[in-house]
Symmetry: C2
DNA sequence: ACCTGAACACCGTTCAAGT
DNA sequence: ACCTGAACACCGTTCAAGT
């Protein structure tokens, strides 16, 4: 009887739309990572036969394009009426928050071969802010590239989610690391020490580090603009 | 008879080793992208039954760890005896060249949940260069984070491989883009114009843009070091 | 003890057979 | 015309049966 009601509810559910599919896909990726998102599991989640998805989505690539656009759309539009620096700063931090909400998004975006509409719009608006901040088109161009590049090549969030299940195991691990990688050992020691005051403080203050990099870049760009 | 010789040659081939498997995997990813790399295709390429790979590799994750370490190992070690700025600069450019040789590497590295040994070593050496350049441990820490972050959130190589098969199609596409995205339109126009002298010049000089960002960051870091 | 074929539990997508 | 079950060509990996 409960089953009967459930079935009725399922059948009465809103009809399948692209929107509904994309939202379910985002939820699925949020929950289990991008590799947990499959057409078949998605169909199951929506109480629908796998092939039904293909009426609203050309294929899986199209689905990925769709969810990328959905989450990029979550980034706040740039504020108008503030100076360029504050506007860029706010927007970049808003983008960062979106990426924290959807940890799979970076890789999903990087896997797109063609830029999606929302992505293009995002860049367009960003360029606009630089321009109205008095940047030449040339400098704006360089600025956009600079803001997008990862200078170490690899993301360095490598040590962020090292779990600390046991202080003793942790200490032993630290000893091993420090022996083989003296510079990292010293760095960890410094960060740990500075961090002693913070409650449960281990590792880095990611938000602080991100803003450090952001301000370094923005200050550098400002200097270049004023020099010209 | 040719078949007979081929079979003999195949059987006489070097025995399966982890090294040989990893090298073949890198070659396969180089050729067809990371999604073309499968255990089964790899085994086929090595004239071996799929299960034979599992003697040298725990599973596919282990294989990916392995090829990440292999390509990270291709990055030149930091020079000693030069100043910190030149050493960092050279090494980052060396890393960039590796990433251009292996376009799949960025995503592969980002998909690793735990840092691999070569990755840890890379960071350790980089930290060492900053330290011997007179950077405090604190500033070194921030510098490492700054060099690793992507401030636009998304990589911006989005427009780089727009093909130019037909000038007329290109012009039409440009008109459409410029109408909808005025700032990108203006940027493209500027870049195209500046680029007129370059032979076949379309799009950005990626190397220049990368060095622009790198120098912006390094100059900013130097200023911070000297201030302290 | 080592090796490996078959099998399992998945994929994305095609296509022909149903309504 | 629309929908969908079965099928196809793949995956990574387990496991039991072979040597």
């Amino acid at each position: 009887m409960a089953t009967k009601i459930d079935e009725t509810a399922a059948r009465a559910r809103a009809p399948l739309t692209r929107e509904r599919i994309l939202r379910a896909a985002v939820a699925m990726a949020d929950e289990g990572g991008i590799e947990a998102l499959s057409m078949r599991r998605l169909a199951q989640e929506l109480d629908v036969v796998p092939m039904a998805l293909y009426r609203h989505v050309a294929n899986k690539e199209d689905l990925l394009d769709g969810i990328v656009d959905l989450v990029v759309g979550e980034v706040d539009p740039p504020e108008t009426g503030t100076d360029w620096k504050a506007a860029i700063r706010r927007r970049v931090l808003s983008a960062r928050e979106m990426l924290l909400r959807h940890p799979w998004a970076v890789r999903a975006i990087e896997s797109r071969t063609d830029p999606t509409p929302a992505l293009i719009g995002y860049f367009d608006e960003m360029i606009g802010v630089f321009r109205s901040g008095g940047f030449s088109m040339d400098l704006t161009h360089h600025a956009m590239h600079a803001m997008g590049s990862r200078l170490l090549g690899f993301s360095q969030e490598l040590f962020e989610d090292t779990p600390a299940p046991d202080a003793a195991v942790d200490a032993e691990m630290y000893r091993v690391i420090a022996e083989r990688y003296p510079n990292i050992g010293e760095l960890i020691e410094t960060v740990m020490h500075d961090d002693a005051s913070v409650v449960g403080g281990r590792g880095c203050d990611d938000r602080f580090e991100f803003e450090f990099a952001l301000d370094l870049m923005l200050d550098g760009l400002e200097r270049l603009r004023d020099r010209a």
